[in-house]
């Protein structure tokens, strides 16, 4: 018997049910994926590979520029996935991730539902964890939608064949699909840094739109800085610098060291942003 029991004999703390966190997580995912705006964004994302595929199909092949991997699509539909991710990475995906991450805490604070969540109670640490997992789940879903639609549309429009890698070697389709999975995983990890940034921004305000815009702004700023040659010393450390590093997975000799160090940078960004988010949320006055 502890001293607090003696002071308060009538109080019996209610027991927690097993799997309670899983229940909260599923509710969070349902909240995100049940929202029409978010579904609409996923639909738009799924159209990207389709549009690229159709454009490539109907246009006469011509060399020159265009996104990475564009030339290879006609030879192998699998390359549609990589093209779509290359197109999506600087624009659509950060936008979609920025909207959901920026909305995560600020949206609830703005509606006032945050105060009711906290008095249920969901402790502040659990709020942050479940919001992070929710945003991560949505990010993964968004990347998977692009990947799967890419494989589907690429397969239908151009067929899936053994893969000729950037290094010139040819590997089996199975190996190619495995590498595609690796690419998708890398993109999810890369976007996690931005998602965590969005979560942090989202703890700073009750204005969800402002949080969304700021999050997307972080990605845009990083892309801009990356385009300024005078700042080349800074470039390797920028949030977006290695976003397209998944091309590494399409070489015969994959430089795992480089992939790991880039992923490490993304995870470091995520860790810093999440710590800031925690510092903010754990002390935040909830007056909305």
């Amino acid at each position: 018997m502890s001293s607090s029991d003696v002071l308060a004999p009538a109080f019996v703390a209610p027991t927690r049910y097993r799997g309670a966190f899983g229940r909260l997580y599923r509710s969070e995912v349902r909240l995100i994926l049940g929202r029409r705006r978010n579904v609409a964004m996923l639909v738009v994302l799924s159209i990207v590979p389709l549009l690229i595929g159709i454009a490539v199909k109907v246009s006469t092949p011509r060399g020159g520029d265009g996104p990475q991997f564009l030339g290879q699509i006609t030879g192998n539909g699998l390359f549609l996935v990589f093209t779509a991710l290359t197109v999506g990475m600087p624009l659509f995906l950060p936008l979609v991730v920025g909207v959901v991450a920026g909305d995560s805490v600020a949206g609830e604070a703005g509606l006032g539902t945050l105060r009711y969540l906290l008095t249920v109670p969901v402790t502040r640490s659990r709020v942050l964890i479940v919001k992070t997992l929710g945003v991560l789940t949505f990010t993964a879903t968004a990347v998977l939608v692009v990947g799967l639609m890419g494989i589907l549309a690429g397969g239908i429009l151009f067929g899936l064949h053994d893969v000729t890698l950037l290094s010139g070697d040819t590997v089996s389709l199975g190996n190619g699909l495995l590498r595609t999975l690796g690419v998708i995983a890398y993109v999810i990890v890369a976007l996690f840094g931005l998602a965590a940034g969005g979560l942090f921004v989202s703890t700073l305000t009750e204005n969800a739109i402002a949080a969304m815009a700021t999050t997307v702004g972080i990605a845009v700023l990083s892309l801009l800085l990356d385009a300024v040659p005078q700042l080349s010393g800074l470039h390797p450390y920028l949030l977006t610098h290695n976003w397209l590093g998944f091309g590494e997975l399409l070489r015969g000799q994959v430089d795992t060291g480089a992939l790991l160090s880039w992923s490490g940078l993304h995870l470091a960004y995520a860790a810093v942003f999440l710590s800031l988010a925690w510092a903010r949320l754990s002390t935040k006055d909830v007056t909305g």
Binding site: A8, R16, T113, Y116, L117, L118, T119, D285, V286
Partner: protein, 327 residues
């Protein structure tokens, strides 16, 4: 259990019961503005505590601190005998709250919003979730509107859904910040009955409201805030008895009666010859003694009444007539 622990457990039987809510010197500033100033609330178990005060007097700010939403600059909070916000995760499942109006996801239905809250509650049994949600909706008369999007709810329906959320689980303490805001007369009556029903089941209720007549009907205790300070607190009877009772005497002999009352030591005698009556503060005097003195003195007594101020009179007397919010 050791011997000393046993004796501690026995001794606690004689100790006064732990109040449902107690604060000590609770203080909160916004910039230079003292929104809550040294507030020490005491809400006994089983009480219906009317938490009153003009707009901006610090009621909602206090409630936010009670529930761990806002940090206090100074002072302590004990909910159900447990220190807040340290014991927040253990205590709040036993506390239902409505804080400054309801807030829900607009694009979810009423029932889906309650499902979301119930899913967030680690102490809620998932097996009984649907039944409890249906029950809570029925208690606030929202069964027919359960499938409507919250966005399409009327003001009163929103308020009712907020109450339903507070009733999803059995509670030891309910904190209701203006629960009748926007409710129709039936809704207001229902809330009054609901509070009575909950209180008779042993739930302690802290209810803030501007409807003083409502509070006077349900409250056992009241606390009155003004400009961040708790001016007065106690049982409803105690607080009402502060308001000085006034004796009103109808008589044609106004002047002589006035002199007599002054002799009897009554304060604030106000003769009103035009209406042939006079008023005076009763103080410690018994009204029957006053009546006898008037009659014994050979004065003509037409009527004698003792008037006690109601909660609204007292509220205005304590917090001032002024309409402007105080800073």
């Amino acid at each position: 259990m050791t011997a000393t622990e046993t004796s501690a457990a026995v001794r606690q039987g004689d100790a006064p019961p732990v109040p449902a809510l107690r604060t000590h010197g609770l203080t909160r500033r916004f910039g230079h503005h003292l929104a809550v100033d040294d507030v020490s609330l005491l809400v006994p178990r089983g009480a219906v505590y009317g938490f009153l005060g003009p707009n901006g007097s610090g009621k909602t700010t206090t409630i936010r601190m009670l529930l761990g939403l806002l940090s206090a600059d100074d002072g302590e909070v004990e909910l159900l005998g447990q220190p807040m916000p340290r014991a927040l995760a253990r205590v709040l499942p036993r506390v239902g709250a409505l804080i400054e109006g309801p807030a829900f996801h607009p694009y979810l239905t009423g029932a889906a919003n309650l499902r979301r809250l119930d899913a967030s509650d680690a102490t809620a049994d998932p097996a009984t979730s649907s039944a409890r949600i249906a029950d809570a909706l029925a208690r606030v008369g929202l069964t027919a509107a359960r499938g409507k999007k919250f966005r399409h709810y009327s003001l009163g329906m929103k308020q009712r859904l907020g109450l339903a959320a507070a009733l999803l689980q059995p509670r030891d303490l309910l904190v209701l910040d203006e629960p009748t805001n926007g409710l129709d007369p039936q809704g207001t009556r229902e809330v009054r009955n609901l509070i009575r029903e909950l209180a008779s089941d042993g739930t302690t209720v802290l209810v803030s409201s501007h409807l003083l007549a409502e509070i006077e009907q349900v409250a056992t205790h009241v606390g009155i805030m003004s400009a961040g300070k708790l001016l007065r607190q106690g049982t409803l009877a105690e607080v009402l008895s502060d308001g000085a009772a006034v004796v009103r005497i109808a008589t044609p002999d106004v002047e002589k009666t006035a002199a007599l009352l002054q002799q009897l030591g009554l304060q604030g005698v106000q003769p009103d010859p035009a209406r042939q009556e006079l008023r005076a503060r009763l103080g410690d005097a018994a009204p029957e003694e006053v009546a006898r003195a008037v009659v014994t003195a050979g004065l003509r007594l037409r009527g004698l009444a003792v008037e006690r101020p109601d909660l609204e009179d007292l509220f205005v007397a304590l917090t001032g007539e002024g309409f402007d919010v105080l800073q």
